[in-house]
Symmetry: C2
Subunit: 343 residues, 2 copies
């Protein structure tokens, strides 16, 4: 995905000239509620009356979360913002502001860095979000990106979507296919560019779609429990079970796994169950609420969610995730998806 | 400052067990307005009615901003939060929430990491701030800390303190001594532990006092222009001049430079003028407002600010910073303090 980089080296441009260029990109479309954007010690924002504020942050580290020989700077800017938008979406809130910290080696081209911000701005604009601040720094040992997104949610009596609100009897559902991003990473690692469906897999890995509209509608439909899938279904669903004190049964044959993954990878089941970074929303809701969600999503021309199982009471052994196959055979699974530090 | 580290290695403890321990420290004293703390995809907070929200973020990188053989983890946690509190203070706002991203090698002891959070929590508590979220990650090439602080400010008709509001005739003032932190860094670099006053210099470097109460009072007293000194007086004052379209005259003999620095370092003038990381507030105000500030600070038992010069109209050559000595001789200075990327 790399093309010949144009522009001057960041270390030649200097920090403050670079910030000026970034500010010009970011401040282009400042909304009325942003009182102070990139230009001062801090950003200032007027939240709408009667709204709560939702805040999240995520770090992307070179060689841990991304490799510069596998991605271009525009995709990196997109993804760094997208993974944070996904966290805001998982609360049922609306993203408003982003602050972007970027630590650079100094050997980057200024045009690469500006592409990073342009791409983040473009993604943000789809949801009415503006880049309101951040920090630049030197990073002698690899690029570091830290993004904070601030959103808001009306105090309308409906709770935010949390991990603690799943109840026995709820349907478990996801907003889109599983395993695509993990397959995309596999394609990049192994150089499988000719594999059937590999462009879609790589796109899922590089440019995940944050389910912002879906999250807003879930909350409006009365859903109460959700999170976004960043560590894989079997990495993330146990977090809902633990926090809610419930168990979950996944009907494996219902999992929305694209055919290209089943054909392309013998271990496709692992990609779908434990592969991370899909950034689809995982939620649970009583059946009638789930029906309403399907109806509302269809009316909004969003892909309807897929039911993949049920929430049940936790047994004496505590919260568990079980897989059920077509014949009804149950298998208790070891929780586990991506985790840092552990090998 | 290093002592034998106790506890288990982070990579043995694992990411999620570590997050649980961090959450226990952070969630200890959650205020009523924090609706969701560390536990979900994002934090949720209810800003007080009639308040605007102020947000800032800063990154600290190992070997760029700190060295682990010069500092302990408690000081690191303190400083990472303090530099962000200082940005909120420089707006005249009140800090409320912090989100802390911490990327670790995995070879740290869990007790070191918990000391980091305990120390940040303790500093935050002085101002009623709570740690509301964050992210942990692996950092194979050195520790990375990114902190975001959210604050609020009442909509009482008084503007936030900005860099763009300095006016000709204003007094230029600082809230405390200059050069102490740069001297502290020099002490660490050169191993000058026996130097007179070196403990205070090191303390200024490791544990700068964010001027939160001072910032709040400045705004209440009618001050409009301020920023915090992170890049040194001659690095930061030109930013106010540029943004306000004014020039500045600094009376060098008025600069509050501690005697220990004058005695200890032949280039003390450079430390005071261009040394970074003092995190004092630099502000400008009409003389009668400055008098009011002095009075109010004294009544609040805060050290009164020191007048160090005047704001004047910018000449044909544009905004400039000039130094004036006791004899009235003027010297135009090249702006410059610490900057990333440039060597």
């Amino acid at each position: 995905m790399r093309v010949a980089a144009s522009g001057r080296l960041v270390r030649e441009v200097g920090e403050f000239a670079l910030i000026d260029q970034i500010a010009r990109i970011a401040n282009g479309a400042a909304p009325r509620r942003l009182k102070i954007g990139i230009s001062d010690d801090a950003a200032a924002w007027r939240p709408p009356a009667g709204h709560d504020v939702v805040i999240t942050t995520d770090v992307l580290m070179e060689r841990v979360h991304f490799r510069l020989d596998w991605t271009d700077w525009a995709s990196l800017g997109y993804k760094a913002l997208a993974v944070n938008l996904s966290d805001i979406a998982a609360m049922g809130a609306r993203p408003r502001l982003a602050l972007i910290d970027l630590a650079l080696r100094g050997s980057e081209r200024d045009q690469e860095v500006l592409d990073f911000y342009r791409s983040a701005r473009r993604l943000g604009q789809r949801f009415g979000l503006v880049i309101a601040g951040g920090d630049t720094s030197r990073a002698p040992n690899g690029v570091v990106i830290a993004v904070t997104v601030v959103g808001d949610v009306p105090r309308d009596g409906r709770p935010l979507l949390t991990r603690a609100a799943a109840r026995p009897g709820d349907v478990i559902a996801v907003t889109g296919p599983l395993g695509l991003a993990a397959a995309g990473l596999r394609v990049l690692e192994r150089g499988l560019k000719t594999l059937d469906g590999s462009p879609a897999m790589q796109a899922a890995y590089h440019r995940p779609q944050p389910r912002v509209w879906e999250g807003l509608l879930l909350r409006r439909c009365g859903v109460r429990a959700a999170m976004d899938l960043s560590d894989g279904l079997l990495g993330d669903l146990p977090k809902i079970c633990e926090r809610s004190g419930v168990s979950a049964i996944i009907e494996t044959y219902r999992l929305p796994v694209p055919n290209a993954i089943k054909w392309g990878f013998p271990d496709w089941r692992d990609l779908a169950l434990r592969g991370g970074e899909d950034y689809e929303l995982l939620f649970t809701a009583p059946p009638q609420v789930f029906e309403r969600v399907c109806h509302v999503f269809r009316r909004a021309r969003l892909r309807p969610p897929v039911s993949i199982g049920q929430v049940v009471e936790a047994g004496a052994e505590g919260p568990q995730v079980k897989l059920r196959d077509l014949l009804g055979k149950l298998e208790v699974v070891e929780p586990g998806g991506y985790t840092h530090f552990k090998t």
